[in-house]
Amino acid sequence: MKILYDWLKEFVAVPFAPGELRERLSLAGIAVEGVSETPAGPSLDLDLTINRPDCLGHYGVAREVAALGRSELPPLSVGLRESSDSAASVTDVEIASPDLCGRFTARVLRGVEVQPSPDWLRKRLEALGQASINNVVDATNYVMLELGHAMHAFDLDRLAERRIVVRRARAGEKIRTLDGVERTLSPEICVIADAARAVGIGGIMGGAETEIGFSTHNVLLESAWFDPVSIRRSSKALGLRTEASTRFERGADPEMAELASRRCAALICELAGGEALAGVVDVYPARREPLPLDLSRKELLRVMGASVPDAEIEAILGALGFAPRRADKTSGSPDSPLATWRCRQPSWRQDVTREVDLIEEVARHYGLEKFPPRLHPAKQPAARLPHAEAEDRLRERLIGLGYHEIVSIPLVNEAEDALFRPAGVTPARVANPLAEDASLLRSTGLVSMAHALAWNLNRGQHNLRLFEIGRAYRLQSGAPDEIRIATIGATGMASEQGVAESAREYGFADLKGDLDQIGNLAGGFDWNAETLAWQHPARAGRILLANAGLRRMEDGKGGQWFVTVGNTVVGSAGELAPRVADKFKLRQGVFLAEWALDPFYEGYGLARDDRKYQPISRFPAVERDFSLILSEGTSFASVRETIAALGIPEIFSIEAVDLFRGTNIPPGKFSLLVRITFQSQEATLTEAQLTDFSSRIISALERKLGATLRSV
């Protein structure tokens, strides 16, 4: 809403220059975005909050300006010369739907001459962004901008039987509105009708057939009040927002209807000649007594924490129209803590209905800067999220491994999401998406990660390591479900060519190494070779977490223990299948992984709690290398397990240090170099012991896996 500075001055003395007025009004809650110059003088650009429809006109803003100086706004007096014939003798108003329309006033103007508006009027309207149409229509708009009340003028002679019926629209009833659009109505919409048909949509827009034109001589001026909820519902249903609907849906002033009508009639007579018939046809089913409101200093103190002097309370509430009267028994003693005031709600402030609303009125004009800031001590210890520590460690580790954190918008393209969606998952779709590319809440973070990688690759960034800690969404038997997940994506070089280093591409082993480092936080990831549709069939697998299968058992006496119920799949990892990579136009190998965070965080806690110091042996460790020839398909895990099953306590570690196929290796076989480190806590190992261990290991591998030792 724009307000002309000079127009304000017609209602109230403005003791501030426009720049200062901007500041003063803003600090009293009437936000002024800026001041600009117009041909009609300086204008203030108000950014009004929705609870203040009373400031959608100059008169209402003038009241706020008056309150800044603690003075009351002089009342409006409108002189209107009326003819001896009465309006009631010419027209008649019936409200058939008083729940939608609480007041309808009709005034009749006879013998007007519709013409273009004079310059002064056009200038003001145009400065406020309102196109000038003709003197009668402009008068209604002018008074709307002045007093904040939207009105409508009908060509009286085009109203069937020259009467008004306010009623619900009939189902399927049609009307062509002033903007030339034919609209189909429904019974929730309030129409202004004549004896035959709808001639306007109440509180929203008039009809084209009864529009004021240059041939109009007699005018019926409508000034009404409509139910805010009904206006809002209708305006939404019709997709039609107007100056009128904005004012009525926020709660217009029913008392203003008659005054605005009188003011408008006077202006029409001034601009277009003619005469106003005597009186107004006023049907007012919503009339009610002003709401009484009480304010006590005790409550003001309880909410605001510091007092406001009596004089300020009374001056502010008085200026704003609340007519405060001291109502306590101590009314003689100034600033008494027991002071109370009886006020009444002005008809233009339907937003103020409670004591706390009055407190806000006092506080905003008294000045929020006058309330002293205080810190209040906490009575309870503060806590972070239960998983905050685990998430910190995870994030730290990912960053240490070179991954950059991303944050993506979880609304994605449905077809892309389907590429990664695990079987049996029902996705959570948006009923009213803004775009097809954002029509679904992602069922995994992989789709967002693929996008982030593609975005960067398309911009010449080829070496990428990204992670996201976020959520995946789905419907679980009709109800939404949100799952905490971590997603990582990597592509390009693992190390780049430099003076001290040679180049190497990021491969599956890099991904697995990174994930194993991460898994260590939660007791270690395990792997199996199942692959999902998005994964490369040879270079991918699923991630398992042993701790995810641990169940905490309580014995009822304060003790607890854990029962392993097996490894649980918590995620998947691997190279992106070429078929999927093509869809994202990814032209280099891309590696992705995702795992569920709830079991991971639980595993983190268990692993941390289980951690105990392992004594460091004082005796030397000895390494022995075993160069094994194994049949293709034999896993390192089976080698390790076979060795571990011997139960030799002196085995400190079992590592794979080299792997090769080809020359000197029979077909169907491969060679694996296994390094075993032996160490005892009790003594230095003797050559005889080592020889014994070695022969036991070799014979177990031969027996269980058909391994042979490769002659070096």
Binding site: A31, G34, V229, R374, R384, G478
Partner: protein
């Protein structure tokens, strides 16, 4: 060319008295000094010199011993012996010096070859980064933890009741216009769901579960059906705050907000509260900070007002207490909703909100 005196005996040289002996030794010594003025090129050069003078078989010192000392007349022998000893120590001392110098020279030549170029880059293991939004979340969390606020989280998919009704925003409230909402497509007959338009629903969830005192912050994602541009995105981040107790007033609210602004923007930042309107707070305010681009003098960023709007807040509207069965006549409190992306944009001078969600590594790397 004179004959090398050391190849002859003293007699052959016609030396008959002590002074002649001394003169002869002096001559040899001068000869040695002359030959060792310059540092030998390397270890081999030094060895040749050493062998020439101290070689067991053919060194000068050996020759003098053989030719001069052993054949000397008994009366000359003490002098020859003394002079020879002097000469030997002189030669040994000097050669030792030379050797040390040769070794040092060789060492520094080798070092010069090995010397690293400190301006060459080292081998760097790439290190990742926290997303800027995450950094701001952590910063906000740190400040409010120090004030005793506990962190809680909630679902992004909410029911209309928690997102609107229980926050005093009934179905046809105009405030809903400012929060255009995404609804979930749920099977017919199931409860309607929406993507929360603010983190405020957790106010209600928390108060339903907990009696006062309550002091929480709620970080999280929120969604609005706004077309994306430099300041809008259909997903962004908020941190909700709520404190409710029997003794919290506007003054405590103001103290907390001012503390936060100073901690977040620096001690020079000034705060101003401007009355505003939200359905779930009363009184409501917008919290402004003095413009840090122009220090309050007025610039484009602050629209020449000297102030920047940071976030909305206020005293909890008593109507909200009604929904969670708190006694509105006994408890009071405040709530605020920090826009994390907006605060990050302001603090780091990021003119386009979309940068946060494009995840371009050239952006991410700037905030390690």
């Amino acid at each position: 060319m004179t004959t090398d005196p050391t190849t002859q005996t003293l007699d052959q040289r016609g030396v008959t008295d002590d002074s002649q002996v001394e003169a002869l030794f002096q001559e040899v010594r001068q000869q040695f000094d002359k030959q060792t003025i310059n540092l030998p090129d390397d270890e081999i050069g030094w060895r040749m010199k050493r062998d020439a003078w101290l070689g067991r078989k053919a060194g000068v010192v050996t020759r003098i011993t053989e030719n001069w000392l052993k054949t000397a007349a008994p009366r000359l022998r003490p002098t020859v012996g003394r002079c020879l000893n002097d000469l030997r120590s002189h030669v040994e001392e000097r050669l030792e010096q030379l050797h040390a110098a040769v070794v040092a020279a060789a060492g520094s030549a080798a070092l010069a070859r090995e010397r690293v170029d400190l301006s060459l880059p080292g081998v760097t293991r790439p290190i990742g980064s926290r997303h800027l939004v995450q950094q701001t979340f952590e910063e906000i969390e740190r400040i409010f933890l120090s004030l005793g606020f506990t962190v809680v989280e909630g679902p992004e998919i909410e029911t209309p009741y928690y997102n609107f009704e229980a926050l005093n925003i009934p179905e046809h409230h105009p405030a809903r216009d400012t929060m255009d909402t995404f609804y979930l497509d749920v099977p017919p007959g199931s409860q309607p769901h929406l993507l929360r338009t603010h983190t405020s629903p957790m106010q209600v969830h928390t108060m339903e579960k907990q009696r006062p005192p309550v002091r929480i912050i709620v970080p999280g994602k929120v969604y609005r059906r706004d077309n994306p541009d430099a300041t809008h995105s259909y997903m962004f981040h908020q941190v909700e705050g709520l404190a409710v107790d029997t003794d919290i007033t506007f003054c405590e609210f103001k103290g907390t907000v001012e503390y936060f602004v100073r901690e977040f923007l620096g001690s020079a930042a000034k705060t101003r509260l401007r009355p505003s309107y939200f359905p779930f707070t009363e009184p409501s305010v917008e919290v402004d900070a003095s413009c840090f681009a122009c220090m309050g003098r007025g610039c484009r960023l602050c629209k020449f007002s000297g102030w920047i709007e940071l976030f909305g807040a206020g005293m909890v509207d008593p109507a909200v207490y009604g929904f969670v069965h708190y006694d509105a006549t006994r408890v009071s409190g405040y709530a605020f909703g920090l826009g994390v992306d907006r605060l990050s944009q302001l603090k780091y001078g990021i003119d386009n909100l979309q940068l946060f969600f494009e995840n371009d590594v050239r952006f991410l790397r700037q905030f390690p």
